[in-house]
Structure formats: structure tokens, C-alpha cells
């Protein structure tokens, strides 16, 4: 039965539009709910990993091995008093965490999770959109630091703006090699381009770029060793000192989603997204039974683990070291990578 006959009075185009809208909204809801669940459990995962690396146990009391801890934390944050500094800029203060969260959450729209499951299909500037959104989220941080009217928050915001501007360049440049090789900014096409090679992952040919990308991703998401914006030991908590309750947790979610997004970009651009290398698929054909989402998530979890692993190991950078690393080392290396990749691509 033709489904349009139900909505015949609206006309085919309108029906089509409504159906598309419903599907789109459902997709968005599913992705956001799953992403927020991932945020909840990545905090649990982080506390567990760092705990065990420090020969502790991590959360153990709420649920089996602390599995319900994220929900306990959420309930606690939800019912906390929402304090707005009386001398702060009230409206900007309320707006800042939303900017931070929505800028990061909207990056999820272009990530291809598995075979053709993308919210925004055929977005031919996918990678560019991701960069734009990750720089937008820095506005949340800067505005939060400014509107709090506190010296710690303000310094955190200043540091964050400087850091994001410096590392954004190197981050984008480190992915130009991928764009040159795949000839596209569309993330789905980048994955398909990787499948044309026997190795199926650009990390094999773009390994230096991958390392550069990882370093910049750590800086971009304000994780250790580049967590200067929120340096607990000097700035208390950095840009969100004055935030409490739900508004604080919005920043918290934004930070973790940004980390997941960075892992997703790394997986998509360097590790072949939901696919396995053709050489592996030929050797072990039974792996085709496993859905692509499993491989995608496994790769993302490995990257998240790397984030936590580095956090448990490396101390924070000094501020001038951070700047000189970004401008004098990472950007020249990324430029050199582009030149070499282009020459190799032109010759072969």
C-alpha cells in the first residue's frame, strides 16, 4: 500500500517532506540519546581507568562496580542550586554553557557511524563543518570566562582562546593530507576512498599526520597535558569556576562530547571509520557478519582510552611551551606533511 495515500490530501511533496522530517528527528533523537549515554559512561570509564592506573579501584559503591555512578552524579547535579554571580553578566552567563554544548553536539550531524547512517547525508563540507563547530565551542568557554566576572574564570577563558586559535590551525592542516589523498571533504567519501587501498586506513600512509592530529585534538578538547584553561591547581577549575548544578554539567557534557567527536574524526579520517581494511576482510571473510557500528565504536573507545591513558600519565604543559609547541613545531610539521603528501600524490 502506498503510504502517500494516507496523506493524499497534503500532496506528495508535503507528505514526503513530513516523512523525511519525522525520520530525521528520530535519527537525531537516537544519536543524541546514545551520545549522552556515552558521555555518562565515558566519565565512569575515565574514573575506572585512571583509578586502576593509580592502583586504586575507582567508583565501586553505586551499583555493580559503580556502574550507576554516572546517574547518581547526574541526579546530584540536577538538584543542585543554580548560582549566578551577582556581579556577572547574567544573560551571557546563561548563554555560554548552551553555546559550548550545542556547538559540540551539532558536530555529531556529519559523523558517519556505520554504513550510510549519517544525520546530514552528503554534506560535501563535512570536515570543514567539524572544524567550524569545534572553534565555535571555544566561544562558550570564552564567554563563560568573561561573564563570570572572576579572575580565575577570566584567565581560563583567555588561555582557552589563545590555545584553541593556535591549535586549530595545526589541527586543520594535519587533516589536509587526508583531503589531498581522498580528494573530498565528505566524511563518507573519505572512508570509501580508504577502502580503495589494500590497507584501508590512512593511518598507514599518514602516520605523522595522525600523531599531529592527536596532539592537536588533546589541545582542542582541553585535555591533559594541554588542560591549561581549567588547570585545577592554579585556576581552581578555570573557566567554569562560577558555574554550578546543571550549567556546570552542560560544560562537562560539552567537554566529553568534544572528546568523543575528536575520537570519531580520528577514526573516520585515519582508521577507516566503520570498515575494516580489505586485506583483513579477504583473509577473514566471516568478519563481514559483524555490523560496522561495532568496529566504529571499538575504534572510538580505543581513542577514548588513549585520552584517559595520557591524562593519567603526563603532567601539564607550561604556557610558553604550549605556545611554542603549537606554532614552532606542529604547524611547520603539518605544512611539511601537506607538501610531501601532495608531491607523492602528484607523482604516483
Amino acid at each position: 500500500m502506498d503510504i502517500s495515500s494516507f496523506y493524499g490530501f497534503l500532496g506528495t511533496d508535503t507528505t514526503d517532506f513530513i516523512l523525511r522530517m519525522i525520520i530525521m528527528v528520530a535519527k537525531i533523537a537516537v544519536v543524541i540519546v546514545i551520545a549522552l549515554l556515552h558521555v555518562a559512561y565515558s566519565t565512569w570509564f575515565e574514573r575506572k581507568i585512571i583509578g586502576h592506573m593509580q592502583i586504586r579501584l575507582g567508583p565501586m559503591r553505586v551499583g555493580y562496580h559503580g556502574l550507576l555512578q554516572p546517574f547518581a552524579d547526574f541526579v546530584k547535579l540536577f538538584f543542585k542550586e543554580d548560582i549566578i554571580p551577582s556581579s556577572g553578566d547574567r544573560s551571557v552567563f546563561q548563554l555560554a554553557p548552551m553555546i559550548a554544548l550545542f556547538a559540540t553536539i551539532s558536530s555529531l550531524a556529519v559523523i558517519p557511524f556505520f554504513n550510510d547512517f549519517v544525520i546530514a547525508k552528503n554534506m560535501n563540507v563535512g570536515l570543514l563543518y567539524l572544524f567550524a563547530m569545534s572553534s565555535l565551542s571555544a566561544y562558550g568557554i570564552i564567554l563563560a570566562g568573561w561573564s563570570s566576572n572572576s579572575k580565575y574564570a577570566f584567565l581560563g577563558g583567555l588561555r582557552s582562546s589563545a590555545q584553541v586559535i593556535s591549535y586549530e590551525i595545526a589541527l586543520a592542516l594535519s587533516l589536509v593530507g587526508i583531503m589531498v589523498l581522498s580528494g573530498s571533504l565528505n566524511l563518507v567519501e573519505i572512508i570509501e576512498a580508504q577502502q580503495k587501498h589494500w590497507y584501508g586506513m590512512y593511518v598507514v600512509v599518514q602516520f605523522p599526520a595522525y600523531i599531529l592530529f592527536l596532539i592537536c585534538a588533546f589541545a582542542e578538547t582541553n585535555r591533559t597535558p594541554f588542560d591549561l584553561p581549567e588547570a585545577e591547581s592554579e585556576l581552581v577549575a578555570g573557566y567554569f569556576v562560577e558555574y554550578s548544578g546543571m550549567r556546570f554539567s552542560l560544560f562537562f557534557m560539552a567537554e566529553y562530547i568534544a572528546m568523543i567527536i575528536m575520537s570519531c574524526i580520528a577514526v573516520t579520517c585515519f582508521w577507516g571509520g566503520w570498515t575494516l581494511p580489505p586485506v583483513v576482510m579477504e583473509a577473514l571473510p566471516f568478519l563481514a557478519v559483524v555490523p560496522g557500528l561495532v568496529w566504529f565504536l571499538l575504534k572510538v573507545y580505543c581513542h577514548l582510552f588513549l585520552f584517559y591513558w595520557v591524562r593519567a600519565t603526563v603532567p601539564r604543559f607550561r604556557y610558553d611551551h604550549l605556545m611554542s609547541l603549537g606554532w614552532k613545531v606542529l604547524i611547520p610539521l603539518a605544512l611539511a606533511n601537506i607538501v610531501i603528501t601532495s608531491i607523492v600524490k602528484f607523482l604516483f
Binding site: I49, H52, M53, I55, M60, W309, V310, A312, T313
Partner: protein, 224 residues
């Protein structure tokens, strides 16, 4: 800059070493003791909840009201009142320890000439009221009963009854002859056999070397 230094700098070998270490630590067994579920082993000599030793013969405390514990207590948390009954015989009217002020130094246990006091190995006695942690003489005896009920074995010995580093000859006779205290009602009946019993605690020196006790004053005399 040597080649090795250059390689170290380019490949971040120090960071990789650190990461290898943290990974190894992640696989090792955590040292956490989850307190209410697991408890750490308490070694002899732990100083915890205060108690009066219940004398097997009299069924009461052994305190002779000598005031030594009251005088030595650095935090002055012990108070004692001697009373006299109708026969003008002294008895312990009050004996109070404010355990919240106690610093658990164990001096009172060391100084007690009759080994009447003990800081037991009981440590979990927090409370919502101050009264529950204010020990009078009845509570002190109750603490002892509660403590020995949890012990295995027939006798109990506290190492601070005969402190290390103090010449045993200088201790009062009752302290020198103190044997491990019987803690089981059945074991308490043949009270004559108790001093001959070997102590349970290996760290404790048995009180038998009477010869040694006599020798030492002589040595001291020679020195003088």
C-alpha cells in the same frame, strides 16, 4: 645534541616510557581496601578502644586507684574518684575516660602497675552522641567483654603491659609477674594453672626468667 637525544625528542620516548608504566600499573592489583566490606588486618600493639581487664577471680576491674594513669595522661582525659565503703575500705567510685580527648599514646596502659587498663584492638566505635564515647568504669568493662568475645584463643596479652625498652627489673612485681589474661569463662576456672601457660603472642617474653630478673639489679649495682 647527540643522535640519541634527538631520537628521544622526536619519538617522545620518555612519555612512552611513562605510558608503559601507567599501563602496567593498570593491570596490577589495586591496593584499595573497601572498608566496611573488607577490613585491614589489625596487628598486636594497635591502640584502640579503652577497656578494663575483667579479673577472672573477682569478676571486676583490677584497678588499685594508684592515680598513675591519671597523672601521666598527656591529654588529661582520665578522671578517677576513690570512695570508701561502710567498712572504711577503699573502692573505685568513679573512673571516666573521655575517649574523644584521648590521643591513644598508651601511656596509661604502660604505667598501670597491675595491668588493669588496655587499649584494645577495637577501632570502629564512632557514634552520633558524645555520651557513647565517654567511658565510665561499667562501660570499660563492657568494652572488654565485647572485645574478648571477638578474640580467638584462651588468653590475651597486650604488648604495652610490659613496654619495650624499659628494664623489666624496674617494673613493679605485679607487672613482672603478669601472665596473659584468660579470656574464656571455662579457662578462668583453674586459675592456678594460668601463670604456667605459654603465651599466645610470640612477641611476648614469658615471665618465667626469674633468674634474669634477679641478675639485672646486680649488674646495675656494679655499674653504680
Amino acid at each position: 645534541m647527540t643522535v640519541k637525544q634527538l631520537i628521544d625528542k622526536v619519538f617522545l620516548t620518555e612519555i612512552l616510557k611513562g605510558m608503559a608504566l601507567t599501563f602496567k600499573m593498570m593491570l596490577s592489583k589495586p591496593v584499595t581496601i573497601q572498608y566496611p566490606d573488607e577490613k585491614r588486618k589489625i596487628y598486636p600493639g594497635f591502640r584502640g578502644k579503652h577497656a578494663f581487664v575483667r579479673d577472672a577471680k573477682t569478676g571486676r576491674q583490677k584497678c588499685i586507684m594508684c592515680m598513675k594513669c591519671v597523672n601521666i595522661c598527656p591529654s588529661q582525659c582520665i578522671s578517677l574518684k576513690k570512695g570508701r565503703d561502710e567498712n572504711n575500705k577503699p573502692f573505685l567510685e568513679r573512673y571516666d575516660i573521655e575517649a574523644l580527648r584521648c590521643i591513644y599514646c598508651g601511656y596509661c596502659v604502660e604505667v598501670c602497675p597491675v595491668c588493669a587498663l588496655v587499649l584494645t584492638e577495637d577501632f570502629g566505635y564512632c557514634s552520633y552522641t558524645k555520651d557513647a564515647i565517654f567511658f565510665d568504669k561499667d562501660k570499660m568493662l563492657k568494652n572488654w567483654d565485647e572485645f574478648v568475645a571477638k578474640l580467638s584463643g584462651d588468653v590475651y596479652w597486650n604488648k604495652f603491659w610490659r613496654p619495650d625498652g624499659v628494664d623489666i627489673a624496674k617494673m613493679p612485681k605485679s607487672k613482672r609477674e603478669q601472665a596473659p589474661v584468660p579470656i574464656r569463662p571455662t579457662a578462668a576456672v583453674p586459675s592456678d594453672t594460668v601463670p604456667e601457660k605459654k603465651p599466645v603472642n610470640p612477641a611476648e617474653k614469658p615471665p618465667e626468667p626469674a633468674a634474669e630478673v634477679e641478675e639485672k639489679p646486680e649488674e646495675k649495682k656494679e655499674v653504680v
